[in-house]
C-alpha cells in the first residue's frame, strides 16, 4: 500500500520538477489518447511540440504566432497568479477579457474615423477599466455578501459572451458590413491599431505589456510587503489577519488587478491579432491562463515559460488538426490533462510517498 507522509519542509526540488514531470506525463497520456484515435502518437506529439518551431514547412508562419498567443496568456496568468497566491480564485478571466475588449473597441469605434495619438492609450485604459469593473462584481459580492467568487466570476463569463454576441450582431456591428456580424476592422484603423512592432516576430504591444506585468509581479511578490501579505493570506489566513492584512482589501485588490490585466489582454487582442469584435472573438485564453498560472508555479518567471509552452500547444494543436485531422477537442483534453497531472503531482512537494509492504505495518511497531 502507498502511504503519504508529510515533509517537515516543502521540497524545493519537487517544486521545480513537478511542471516538467507533468508535461512528460501529459505527452505520454496524450500519445496514448492519439493512438486510440488511430493517429501515430509520435507524429502527433512532434507536430504539436516540435514542428511549429523547427519544421521548414510551418515555422515561418508558426514562430511569430508563439508570441501572439503567449502574450495574452502570460498577461492574464500573471494577474491571476497573484490572486491565486492569496487564495482568491478568479476563474472568470475569460469574461473580463471579453469586457476589456468590448470597452476598448467602444473607444476606438467612438473616435472612428478621427485621428489622435491619444486614442490607443485611451483604449488601453478602457480595456483595463472594463476588465477591472467586471471583476469587481464577484469581488464586491464576495466582500459584502460572502458569495463564492469562483462561481460568480465563472458564471459572469457566460454573461460576457452574451454581451459579446449582442455587440457583434447589434450595437457594434459594422454599418458598412452588409449586415454581416462583426464590428469595423479596428486593426486597420491606424490610431487604434495594435501593430506588430518588429516584422516577422509576432511582437506587439500586448507582448510588451505582458513582460512589463511579469516584472511588476516579480517585484511585488519578492520585494514588496503587499506581495508578502498576499502570500501570507493564501498560506495562513489567520496569521494574515494577525499581521494586519484586511481580507476585504486584499480581495478587491487581487480581483481588480487580475481583471484589469485580463481586460488589457482583451484590448490588445481586439486591436491586433483578432482585428475586430466578432461573435467568436474569445479563444479561451482566460481559461487556459489558469493552467499557465499553475504550470508556472504561480511564479512570474515560471509563467513566462508556461505561457510559451501553452501557446505552443495552441499552435501545434491547430497544426495537428489541419495535418492529422485530430478533433479540436483532443487538444483541449490535452491541455486539461496537463493541469490534472500538475495538480496531482503537487502533492509531492509537501508529501513523501512511502511504500508500506503488507505484513510490515508501521503502526504495529
Amino acid at each position: 500500500m502507498l502511504r503519504l507522509e508529510k515533509r517537515p519542509s516543502p521540497s524545493k526540488a519537487w517544486n521545480f520538477a513537478t511542471p516538467i514531470v507533468a508535461v512528460l506525463l501529459t505527452m505520454i497520456a496524450g500519445g496514448i489518447l492519439f493512438a486510440i484515435l488511430g493517429k501515430n502518437p509520435f507524429e502527433a506529439i512532434k507536430l504539436i511540440f516540435w514542428d511549429p518551431l523547427f519544421s521548414e514547412q510551418f515555422a515561418a508562419y508558426s514562430r511569430p504566432q508563439l508570441l501572439v498567443k503567449a502574450g495574452p496568456l502570460i498577461l492574464i496568468a500573471v494577474g491571476l497568479s497573484i490572486g491565486f497566491r492569496a487564495g482568491i480564485w478568479n476563474i472568470g478571466a475569460e469574461g473580463q477579457y471579453i469586457i476589456g475588449a468590448l470597452c476598448a473597441a467602444a473607444v476606438a469605434l467612438g473616435f472612428y474615423p478621427g485621428e489622435g495619438w491619444y486614442i490607443f492609450p485611451l483604449m488601453i485604459v478602457a480595456g483595463a477599466a472594463g476588465g477591472w469593473a467586471w471583476a469587481m462584481i464577484p469581488a464586491i459580492l464576495k466582500t459584502r455578501f460572502n458569495t463564492n467568487e469562483i462561481l460568480v466570476s465563472l458564471l459572469l463569463v457566460y454573461v460576457a459572451e452574451k454581451l459579446l454576441a449582442a455587440a457583434a450582431t447589434g450595437f457594434m456591428r459594422n454599418p458598412q458590413g452588409a449586415g454581416f456580424p462583426g464590428s469595423r476592422n479596428i486593426h486597420q484603423y491606424a490610431p487604434a491599431s495594435n501593430q506588430e512592432l518588429i516584422v516577422g516576430t509576432g511582437l506587439h504591444w500586448g507582448v510588451v505589456a505582458a513582460f512589463v506585468a511579469v516584472i511588476f509581479a516579480y517585484i511585488l511578490l519578492q520585494r514588496h510587503i503587499l506581495g508578502f501579505h498576499v502570500q501570507l493570506a493564501g498560506q495562513a489566513p489567520r496569521a494574515a489577519r494577525f499581521a494586519g492584512v484586511a481580507p476585504t482589501r486584499l480581495v478587491l485588490m487581487c480581483m481588480g488587478l487580475s481583471g484589469a490585466f485580463a481586460g488589457m489582454a482583451g484590448m490588445f487582442e481586439v486591436s491586433g491579432p483578432a482585428r475586430l469584435i466578432s461573435i467568436d472573438f474569445n479563444a479561451g485564453y482566460g481559461f487556459t491562463a489558469i493552467i499557465v498560472a499553475f504550470l508556472g508555479r504561480l511564479h512570474p518567471v515560471g509563467i513566462v515559460l508556461a505561457g510559451l509552452l501553452l501557446a505552443l500547444t495552441y499552435i501545434g494543436g491547430e497544426l495537428a488538426q489541419f495535418m492529422l485531422n485530430l478533433p479540436a477537442a483532443a487538444i483541449q483534453v490535452f491541455q486539461g490533462m496537463l493541469l490534472f497531472f500538475l495538480l496531482a503531482l503537487d502533492v509531492l512537494s509537501n508529501y513523501r510517498i512511502l511504500l508500506a509492504l503488507p505484513g510490515r505495518n508501521p503502526e504495529a511497531a
Binding site: 517537515p8 519542509s9 516543502p10 520585494r223 514588496h224 510587503i225 503587499l226 508578502f228 502570500q231 501570507l232 498560506q235 495562513a236 489567520r238 496569521a239 494574515a240 489577519r241 494577525f242 499581521a243 494586519g244 484586511a246
Partner: protein
C-alpha cells in the same frame, strides 16, 4: 456496609521515571456519584485508564461487586458494565450521529434500529439529539451527548466522565447534571473527574483527592467548602510571587465595558470586560479554555475591532484600529495557536519575523521589504531566545512546539512593546524553556511595560502575575492582587461566582 460496586485496592502504576499512581485505594458504591479531584498531572487520567482497561496497573487489585476485576481491554471493561466519556471526543465529523455511535460499539445493531434506540435514550434522559445529523454540524455539548448516549446504550453500571464540563456552556452543564442525577436515581454509579470545585459540591457525595499520584484526602464535598477542597488538591502552600510588588506607573492598557461577538460560530462573545494594566504590572487571566481567551486576545490585538473607547492605549482610544496601527503604538500580542495564527507554517523564520516585525523593526521601507534586515531580526530572535534551529531559512512548521513558542514570544518581546498580551505563553514548552519565557515576561514588566498573561496554568499565573482575574463565559472577574489571594477565592473567581459576592460586599 454493603459491597461496593467497584473497590480499588493499593493500585500503583509506574511509568519510566514517574510514578503516576501510588497505592491508590478507594471504593465507589452503588448509585454513588464519586468525584476524583486533582490538579493536572495528579494521576487522575492514569487511574481511570486502569479502570477502563486501557492500561494494566503494576500493583494492586480491583474488585467489581466483590469479584476480582482486571480488565485487559476496554471491551472487557464494557462487558462488565463500565463506560467512559473521554475529555477529547473521538468522533468523525463527516458521519452522522448514528454512524458514529455504531463505530464505538462492539456489536452494533442495524443503523435504523440504532437510530430508534438513540431517539429513545435521548428522550428518556433529556439529552436532545437527532441521530441523522452530521457530527460536523454539532456543538461541543452535542458532541458530548453523542459520547454519553453511546455509553448509555451499553447500559453501564459505572459511567466514568473525564472533565465533562470543560467544553460546555452553562446551559449545557445544567442539562448534563440533570441527566447525571437521573442516572444516579436509577442506581447507576458515576466517577466524575473535574477540578471545578463548585460542580463537585453540587453533584457528588464522595470525593477522593489525588496529588502526585497519591490519595491525599477523602471528603464529602457537600460538607466541605471550596477552599478546603482546593487546599487538599494543591497542598497547603500557595506559591508566593518571587518579586516584590513594584510601584506601578500610569495605566498603559485600559479596557472598559468591552463587549464583542466572536468571529467564529462556536466562539464565546466577550461581555462587558473591564481591566486596567499599569506600567510594570503583570495581569494574569485564568480560566478554562473556550471561555473567551481567543476572543480577548483578538480584541486586544486588533483582529476583532471594537468601538474606539472600549480599548485604550496610554489613554488614547485604539478600539477602532487594526493590528498594524496598534503595533505601531506599542501594543503587541502573541496568540495561543502557534502554527497558523502566530506564525505561518510553511514560511521561513525570516518571513515569520517580518510577519509582525515589519513596521516596528523598520524591515520595510516605502513598502519594500529589506530581506537582509528581516533575516538579521530573525537571527537575533534565534540567538537571544535560544531557539534551536539550523537557521532562519527553516520553515516554521519544522520547529518543535517549544522552539517555535520561544521564537514567537521572542519576536514580540524584542520589539520593545509597551503593552504585551500573551495567550498560553508556555503551552507545550519544556520546563527550562518555560522558565526562560516567564523570566523574559518578568523582565519586560520590570522594564516598564504592561503585560497581560492569559493562561490555563494557574501555577504559571500565580508565579509571575501581580494581579489575577478569571475569564468565565466571556466575562472577566474584577482583578485582585495575587498576594494574599487564597485558593478559595481563586476557585470562586474561576467558577464565575466571584463577581456577585463582590457587588454584594
Amino acid at each position: 456496609m454493603s459491597t461496593p460496586l467497584l473497590s480499588i485496592k493499593g493500585l500503583t502504576k509506574v511509568y519510566p521515571g514517574v510514578v503516576a499512581n501510588s497505592d491508590v485505594t478507594f471504593d465507589i458504591g452503588e448509585g454513588e456519584v464519586h468525584a476524583l479531584l486533582g490538579e493536572n498531572g495528579a494521576g487522575k487520567s492514569t487511574l481511570v485508564k486502569a479502570i477502563y482497561g486501557l492500561i494494566r496497573p503494576n500493583e494492586g487489585t480491583m474488585e467489581w461487586r466483590g469479584q476480582p476485576y482486571a480488565p485487559s481491554a476496554p471491551a472487557q471493561a464494557r462487558a462488565t458494565g463500565v463506560a467512559m466519556v473521554f475529555q477529547h471526543f473521538s468522533l468523525f465529523d463527516a458521519m452522522d450521529v448514528a454512524e458514529n455511535v455504531a463505530l464505538g460499539m462492539d456489536n452494533p445493531p442495524p443503523i435504523r434500529e440504532l437510530a430508534a434506540q438513540i431517539r429513545k435514550v435521548s428522550n428518556d434522559y433529556g439529552l436532545p439529539l437527532d441521530p441523522d445529523r452530521l457530527v460536523g454540524d454539532l456543538s461541543a455539548g452535542e458532541r458530548q451527548r453523542v459520547e454519553i448516549i453511546r455509553c448509555l446504550l451499553q447500559n453501564p453500571q459505572l459511567l466514568i466522565m473525564d472533565e465533562p464540563t470543560s467544553v460546555l456552556t452553562p446551559q449545557e452543564v445544567e442539562i448534563l447534571f440533570k441527566t447525571l442525577r437521573q442516572l444516579r436515581a436509577e442506581g447507576r454509579s458515576i466517577l466524575y473527574i473535574s477540578h471545578k470545585l463548585e460542580e463537585i459540591r453540587a453533584l457528588c457525595e464522595n470525593a477522593t483527592v489525588l496529588r502526585l499520584g497519591k490519595v491525599v484526602g477523602r471528603a464529602d464535598p457537600r460538607q466541605e467548602s471550596a477552599r478546603s477542597l482546593a487546599e487538599m488538591m494543591v497542598g497547603q502552600t500557595l506559591h508566593t510571587p518571587s518579586r516584590e510588588t513594584p510601584d506601578f506607573g500610569k495605566p498603559l492598557l485600559e479596557v472598559s465595558d468591552l463587549s464583542v461577538a466572536s468571529p467564529s460560530a462556536f466562539g464565546t462573545a466577550l461581555k462587558g470586560i473591564n481591566l486596567t494594566v499599569r506600567a510594570g504590572e503583570i495581569l494574569g487571566i485564568g480560566g478554562v479554555a473556550g471561555n473567551g481567551q481567543d476572543e480577548l486576545l483578538g480584541a486586544l490585538s486588533g483582529e476583532i475591532r471594537a468601538p474606539s473607547g472600549m480599548v485604550r492605549m496610554a489613554g488614547e482610544p485604539v478600539g477602532q484600529y487594526g493590528p498594524t496601527a496598534r503595533r505601531a503604538m506599542g501594543l503587541l500580542c502573541a496568540p495561543e495557536e502557534r502554527l497558523g495564527h502566530a506564525a505561518a507554517p510553511d514560511m521561513s523564520l525570516t518571513e515569520n519575523a517580518l510577519l509582525t516585525g515589519a513596521w516596528r523593526e523598520r524591515l520595510v521601507n516605502k513598502g519594500f521589504v529589506n530581506w537582509g534586515k528581516a533575516k538579521g531580526f530573525a537571527e537575533t530572535i534565534i540567538k537571544r531566545f535560544d531557539v534551536r534551529t539550523p537557521g532562519p531559512h527553516v520553515a516554521a512548521r519544522a520547529l518543535s512546539g517549544g522552539n517555535l513558542q520561544k521564537f514567537v514570544i521572542g519576536r514580540e518581546i524584542l520589539q520593545r512593546p509597551s503593552v504585551l498580551v500573551v495567550n498560553q505563553p508556555t503551552w507545550g514548552v519544556d520546563a527550562s524553556a518555560a522558565a526562560a519565557i516567564r523570566q523574559a515576561l518578568l523582565d519586560l514588566a520590570q522594564g516598564g511595560a504592561a503585560v497581560v498573561v492569559i493562561s490555563q496554568d494557574l501555577d504559571e499565573i500565580l508565579e509571575i502575575s501581580d494581579n489575577f482575574a478569571a475569564l468565565n463565559g466571556g466575562r472577566l472577574s474584577a482583578p485582585r492582587p495575587v498576594q494574599g489571594l487564597t485558593m478559595d477565592q481563586i476557585g470562586l473567581m474561576l467558577g464565575g461566582a466571584e463577581g456577585d459576592t463582590d457587588v454584594a460586599a
